[in-house]
Amino acid sequence: MPPDNVAFMRAAYTVALVVYALYAVTLWRRRARVRKELQRLSD
């Protein structure tokens, strides 16, 4: 019977998803800030 270590699997998937999501959101916010400033300068 396989060992019961499902908590480690869940922890790893959670950590990975949090890191990828945080980076995507950070990048999206940086781009939005720069675009807003570019738009302001062009108006």
């Binding site: 060992p3 480690f8 699997m9 890191v19 720069v34």
Partner: protein, 241 residues
């Protein structure tokens, strides 16, 4: 000896064509979610390691992307920059370093979580883990260096040297399990003979690998465009790009 000036683009009006939703990133997120659901719920559990083995689909896929796409592209574009001195190539190197570092961070975080139930320890200073951490630190240093130097051409030139150094470590990381005694298993997938895994697990890994490659491409494209827009903004403000 004078340094050839990097070729820079003249500031232009902001592009509005790229202001919409990032469909490629949305597709990548859906692909990653589908691949991981398939790996967790529709792939057999390995008999010896148990559910913890399913970290493989996340850890190995992210590692392959970080090493061969992220840091490989960083080294390649860094070398090309030193040759051509093209601003776009430097921006691509910067983007590959940042996105590659994110993928490698996931590798360094999920590895210990997998190691604890299987090896009985969170971390060991063997060749692969140490080299991987060292490469991660070099790329972190690369990004720190970029923030520390104001002169654009100098920043690109110095960081390109560091980028090449990071890339030179990639083959050593790949070969570290065969060159040194290590707790890491011998290559299971990327080896001359057939993968040492059941077909269903190989297929699940292939789905996950494809999804993570798509995620890398989507994030790289978004990061490159951010770099373009940031440099355009700096040029419009009359700052050093």
């Amino acid at each position: 000896m004078t340094t050839p000036a990097a070729r820079t683009a003249a500031p232009t009006a902001p592009s509005t064509a790229r202001g919409g939703p990032d469909l490629l990133l949305a597709a990548a997120v859906i692909a990653v979610a589908a691949a991981l659901v398939h790996a967790v719920y529709f792939t057999p559990t390995e008999a010896v390691q148990g559910p913890a083995q399913k970290i493989f689909y996340l850890h190995v896929s992210s590692a392959i992307v970080a090493l061969y796409l992220g840091f490989g592209l960083l080294a390649l574009t860094s070398a090309v920059y030193l040759w051509l001195r093209e601003e776009r190539v430097d921006r691509m190197a910067e983007s590959a370093a940042e996105v590659g570092l994110v993928f490698m961070s996931v590798v360094l975080l999920t590895g210990p979580i997998w190691a604890k139930p299987i090896w009985g320890t969170w971390w060991t200073w063997d060749a692969r883990l140490t080299l991987t951490l060292f490469t991660w630190l070099i790329v972190l240093g690369y990004l720190t260096l970029r923030n520390a130097i104001e002169d654009r051409a100098q920043r690109a030139r110095y960081s390109a040297v560091l980028g090449i150094l990071a890339g030179l470590l990639v083959p050593f990381i790949h070969l570290s399990t065969t060159m040194f005694r290590t707790l890491h298993p011998q290559p299971i997938l990327l080896k001359p003979s057939a993968p040492s895994m059941p077909h269903e697990m190989v297929m699940s890994w292939m789905y996950a690998q494809g999804a993570f490659v798509l995620l890398f491409v989507a994030l790289l494209r978004a990061r490159y465009r951010y770099g373009e827009e940031r440099d355009r903004l700096r040029a419009l403000r009359g700052e050093e790009v």
